[in-house]
Amino acid sequence: MKVFFEQYFDFNVMGEHFWEVFDAFLQNLLIWVVAAVLVLSWGLILAFLRQLPGKKFAPVRFLTIAYIDIFRAIPALIVILLISGGVPFLTFLPKDIRIPHWFGKPDPFWYGVAALLLVFGAYMAEVYRAGIEAVPRGQMEAARSLGMSHAQAMRHIVIPQAVTKVPAPMLNEMISLLKETTLVSFIAFGESVLVSREILAERLNSSALILTAFFFLIIILPMARVVDYLIKRNQLKITRGAHIEVG
């Protein structure tokens, strides 16, 4: 038991490497924020494409559904490895895209963002879709009967209502996204898990991993509480709505 505590809860090791791990964790947060902004937009675009009506857009719907299904099925780690291993050799792309060093960040950072964007964009599209489908059909019909185009009806009527129904599942995806940023350690980007494992190799002690886990806990626990709050508030809204209809 003593060995266990020394291996995982050595406060000297944690103290000595605190800022090192902290800085690396900030890299996780940075990947998270950049990817999250892109994921929220990309997911919305995918959800919109999936809802396009009529025969004319059938190919677009098919491709969108295929994309969503494929990227929900492939493990994020495999996508990260394939992108970092493959994109540099796509010689028809300009070098700035094959080996991106934008905003002073190394290419593994951007490969990681791209892979997480592809995967979580698909998840987020499903979250939005659930929201869109929760908006009663009559809303679209009323908007269309007032002469709005499908796109106008989506933009002004359906999507504003859909997004009020999705914060809780959306936040759950964001929590997953934050945790999955650690996968970028596999392509040698210096985020917190990579740095902790380097410390493990150097000191033969795992306490830095516990410290990293602790950082994640601090950020994610409040988010989990917010999810609970949102779910509860939404249920209140539903009961209140039902009450109005009855009386």
């Binding site: 009529g54 009559g138 007032l146 002469g147 002004h156």
Partner: protein, 254 residues
């Protein structure tokens, strides 16, 4: 004589195997109020939804102000084409479940489409919206959200919202059926007023009193066809067809 406002010829509509409309012919003159009665499942609502192409018919012709709205690019798919714009700018619809936009207040509900679809300025759309809401008796509810309005008030907002597009024909799809009894009158009064101003109206309803008093024509539908039509007094008091008699007996008995 000028073209009728609306002329339906042999309108057919199926949902999969289910034939909902089996060849409906109907003429509606300018300024006329036509009340459509019939048991549920008789195709009354589907007929209205065909007229504004929410459910485009599979067969038959619908002429709106002389213009065939079922032909032309995009017909049959219900998607963007000239006939859809032509129809939606001329035909307003009010629904059983109101379908107000819950994230917009009463005035925004009314002003949104004129601003976005007709390209009116915000001020213009809002002042017109205020005028319309005043007309339906809701001048003091402009900034209320739908969930804070009674069913009758919501339905009057929905009527104002449809009128804001300056339609030539209004479709009413069982607009009082979801209302508590004491709220029905305020909505019918609004419709009565609209009729007296000369609006062409197609009204699916179970309100016999309204049909008798306001209707110029009463149409009785059953099984996807028009069984009987004529002046309200003729159809309601002296029905010729057995099915009409049976239906009216069931409705009027209680």
């Amino acid at each position: 004589m000028a073209d009728p406002m609306l002329r339906l010829r042999g309108v057919n509509k199926s949902f999969g195997q289910l034939e909902v409309l089996k060849g409906v012919d109907l003429d509606v003159q300018r300024g006329e109020v036509v009340c459509i009665l019939g048991p549920s499942g008789s195709g009354k609502s589907t007929l209205l939804r065909c007229v504004n192409l929410l459910e485009p018919p599979e067969e038959g012709e619908i002429f709106l102000e002389g213009q065939d709205i079922c032909r032309g690019p995009g017909s049959g798919t219900g998607e963007s084409s000239w006939n859809l714009d032509f129809v939606r700018q001329r035909v307003g619809m009010v629904f059983q479940q109101f379908n107000l936009f819950p994230h917009k207040n009463a005035l925004e509900n009314v002003a949104l489409a004129p601003e976005r679809v007709l390209g009116r300025s915000r001020e213009e759309a809002r002042s017109k919206g205020t005028e319309l809401l005043t007309r339906v008796g809701l001048a003091d509810k402009l900034s209320e959200y739908p969930e804070r309005l009674s069913g009758g008030q919501q339905q009057r907002v929905a009527i104002a919202r449809a009128l804001a597009m300056e339609p030539h024909v209004m479709l009413f799809d069982e607009v009082t059926s979801a209302l508590d009894p004491e709220l029905v009158k305020e909505v019918l009064d609004t419709m009565r007023e609209l009729a007296s101003e000369g609006m062409t109206m197609l009204v699916v309803t179970h309100e016999m009193g309204f049909a008798r008093e306001v209707g110029d024509q009463v149409v009785f539908m059953d099984g996807g066809v028009i069984v009987e039509q004529g002046k309200p007094a003729d159809v309601l008091d002296n029905p010729r067809e057995a099915r009409t008699k049976k239906f009216l007996g069931l409705v009027l008995e209680h």
